[in-house]
């Protein structure tokens, strides 16, 4: 029974400690997020939300402890892990010299299972269909963020890691993101996100961890 649980889509973190220089961002942090669940990372500015999310994606390195996906340590199975996650960081990962359409084409080239023919539908969904062929440098910050959100819809992956996903989004953009997250959770996805604002993802359970309280 426990074995089959370990094999399913669970992101588990065991006794994770992350240091930044001399400062301890988290010590012996453990949690589990399974399919259909969201995890919100909270904390003040500088508490280490970004660092923690980067450690969870495998970009950063933990000083102690382990991140496991489907029961396997991501250190041992990083290629498969990378094929099952999408990451939206502080910076959008959007090339300003390329249009949203070209940016999505590149993003899909970097995926394990690209879904190229969905690009038009996705651009329409994030409200960029009229600006799809303008260079992103000419678009507003919010529109660039929407291009980055479109990238999430391009990939058929279970895990979403979002760092400050609400940054520069307008009210309609926040609604769009909330709907995207709910749709992702409905389809059995997992969302780990860091924001200051509270996000209403009801009826889905939102776990939360607070960083920086022990320090």
């Amino acid at each position: 029974m426990i074995d089959s649980m370990e094999q399913s889509d669970v992101l588990s973190v065991d006794n994770l400690s992350v240091w930044r220089g001399e400062r301890c961002l988290c010590r012996n942090l453990s949690f589990r997020v399974s399919t259909g669940e969201a995890l919100q990372v909270q904390g003040q500015n500088g508490a280490g939300k970004t660092t923690l999310i980067r450690v969870l994606t495998g970009l950063g390195r933990a000083d102690e402890g382990d991140v496991r996906w489907r029961g396997e340590s991501l250190r041992r199975n990083s290629e498969q892990y990378r094929a099952s996650l999408s990451y939206l960081g502080h910076s959008n990962g959007v090339k300003l010299g390329l249009s949203p359409r070209e940016n999505l084409a590149i993003a899909s080239a970097l995926l394990a299972n690209p879904i190229a023919n969905k690009v038009d539908v996705i651009l329409d969904k994030v409200g960029l269909s009229t600006h799809a062929d303008l260079p992103c440098g000419m678009l507003s910050m919010g529109q660039r963020r929407r291009t980055a959100l479109a990238r999430l819809l391009l990939a058929d992956v279970r895990l979403w890691f979002l760092d400050e996903p609400l940054a520069s989004l307008d009210i309609a953009g926040v609604t769009l993101l909330t709907d995207m997250l709910k749709a992702h959770l409905t389809s059995g996805g997992i969302v780990v996100f860091a924001t200051h604002q509270s996000m209403d993802l009801a009826p889905f359970p939102v776990k939360s961890i607070m960083l920086g309280t022990s320090a």
Binding site: R20, T57, G58, L59, G60, R61, E79, Q80, R82, A83, L85, Y87, G89, H90, S91, N92, G93, V94, K95, L96, G97, L98, E102, A105, I106, A107, A109, L110, L111, A112, P114, P135
Partner: protein, 221 residues
């Protein structure tokens, strides 16, 4: 198919910022042109110096150009996406180095013909000069890319890169300039060209691993 999409992206971006990419090439032309002005413009003297001057100028131009290799990708977050892609990072970086060489190194190889004439380099040896640069500049690109991967996160990495990489480029410079110099006086050039070829193969096969590791370290913090 997917890898060609990456090459296409790089070439398209290169075309849209062609002014910036032309800088190393213009640098190469200007530095080479300065020597006849600073030295005695005696054709015999210039002819002897030509291989060395062209090679040193090409070396510096390539290294200066490598600084921008991963910079914008680092700043706009694209580099993180490359690292998180299930596609092997080593493939992605060697393609990037290749396209970057195509738009900065190759024009330099072609322009070296013009600069050789300016320095009264014998025309019968032009083929060897171009060949030596054609084999040598990709090695310099690879070495420069290793430096660029390590300095990408630094604000003042611009000057650090040549300092880190220049000592490593010495063998390339020696064999490259030797090939061009020997050709000018009619000596056999096979040995230095073979050495350049061997170093090129070594660079292409080993550099991707070093570059990828450098990028992973740079993005860890």
């Amino acid at each position: 198919m997917r890898l060609t999409a990456l090459i296409e992206r790089d070439l398209r971006l290169a075309y849209r910022r062609r002014g910036e990419l032309a800088t190393p090439v213009i640098f190469f032309v200007i530095v080479t042109a300065l020597f006849p002005l600073a030295l005695n413009p005696d054709p015999a003297l210039l002819r002897t110096l030509a291989p060395g001057v062209i090679w040193v100028a090409a070396l510096l131009a390539v290294l200066i150009g490598q600084d921008s290799l991963f910079k914008t990708d680092y700043e706009d977050g694209s580099l993180e996406l490359m690292l998180l892609s299930p596609i092997t990072l080593e493939w992605i970086v060697i393609l990037r180095v290749f396209t970057h060489w195509l738009v900065t190194g190759l024009p330099l190889v072609i322009l070296s013909l013009l600069m050789a004439l300016l320095l009264d380099y014998p025309t019968h040896a032009l083929g060897t000069l171009v060949m030596s640069l054609f084999l040598g500049t990709p090695i310099l690109s690879c070495l420069g890319a290793v430096g660029a991967s390590l300095t990408v996160g630094l604000r003042r990495g611009f000057m650090l890169l040549p300092i880190l990489v220049l000592p490593l480029t010495v063998p390339v410079l020696i064999f490259g300039a030797a090939a061009a110099g020997r050709a000018a006086v009619g000596d056999p050039v096979a040995a230095p060209l073979y050495f350049l070829g061997a170093m090129l193969i070594l660079a292409i096969t080993l550099a991707p691993f070093a570059i990828a590791a450098g990028l992973r370290i740079s993005l860890e913090s």
